[in-house]
């Protein structure tokens, strides 16, 4: 993920964030996560996953798993 973000313009970075945000926000709604919590949760997940962890595999699956687990109440 980093490689795809490194050197990309601010506009492209912003659209990457917005694209993933919209998908996760829709999922958060289905999972009945209160909007005020969902916004912060999604920000945490996107920063952690896209910028720090940078998984080699299926990023979307990773993001969805993180949100699902958060919805389960961070029970791990």
């Amino acid at each position: 993920v980093l490689q795809s973000l490194a050197g990309t313009s601010t506009t492209d970075l912003a659209s990457t964030y917005e694209r993933y945000y919209e998908g996760l926000a829709a999922l958060a709604e289905k999972l009945e996560i209160p909007p005020e919590e969902a916004e912060e949760l999604i920000a945490n997940i996107l920063i952690s996953t896209l910028l720090l962890k940078r998984p080699a595999g299926d990023v979307e699956r990773w993001l969805v798993a993180a949100l699902h687990d958060a919805a389960r109440g961070e029970k791990c």
């Binding site: 952690s48 896209l50 791990c76």
Partner: protein, 387 residues
Amino acid sequence: MFTRRSRLKPERVREFTRLAQHLTAEREAATPLVERLLRETEPEKWPTLAEHPDLKTIGALERLANIFAETLTKNARKATAVAELAVSVAEGLTPGSYPIAAISQLQALAWKDLGKALRFLGRNLEAVDAFHTAESRLVPGLTHDRAIVRFNLAMSLQELGQFDESFDLITESRRLFDEHGDARNTLLCGLAEGILLQRLGRFREARETYLLLLASTKPIDQESLGALHRAIGLCSLDLRDFREAELNLRHSIALSREIGQPLEALKGETALGRLFNRKGEPQRAIEHLRPVRRAFLRAGLAEEAGICGLEIVEGLLLLDSASPAETLARKIVAEFVTAGLSARAIGALGYLAEAIASKKASTKLVSDVRDYIVSLRTSPERDFATS
């Protein structure tokens, strides 16, 4: 219309893009910077580096984490010093210097590494504390990190004999890794589950666990495949299923050779020697194990040579050859002393040699000493007790 969907905040987008741009530069600068600082500073003064402003970056902390991972199995004390420095740097990050999720993750991972280092040194109670601190740093959403921390906590709890808690944490972590599509960590959890079952003497369940991993459709690297076959072989050995044991041990040895891991292959050969002893073929075991032991000694691995030597001692006792068994046991003691290995291991080996000399040694005592020496790798403070 009223919506329950959270709205995108422009300040979050700015925070994300700014961090992405900073990170590229930070990561580029961190490698030479961190390596130079560690090289030019005496290790006992590394704690003072925590105040160095150039280290207070994500790039520097990531580099410290890489150095920690590269060092842990080679020099656990140095790795501990690196982890302690990382904890100090991460805890000293100014609030607001990075988004909260980034700081949270960096602090948690630094504590997790310190916990791993402490576990490696056998300081499991302190390791458990470090893992609990790591978890306390995590903000909601950092599920994968939580699974990593809890998996490591499970490993330390296992060393402390808290098997049920350990088992639950491994199972839960495995589920989370699987949901993330993290095949490598899922496999590691499966292996850990099997090892725990083996430690509990539940060899059939352990073997089932390994066989399920083997049957999985997910890709398994050759190294893990070799480890799986060896584990299945060892379980089968304890189940006295000698045919399966030999098949899997030979497969594991071949895989280790194929991927250029001759020492792993030698460990497999040692297990094969044990199999011959168990099958009631001690002469074959001794002939098989002697060149293996010599290879370990040539590689400077006194401990592995000693473990292999103990299988030979067992074979000699099975042949009623107490005198050569005693000579070999004393030779292993001398090799451990020369290599500066654990005083506890040396004590247990000395006890064995004396027991053989006074005709009180059984093959059970030999296996107890061997298992004890192996256990000292993860619990160096453990005392020897024979049943």
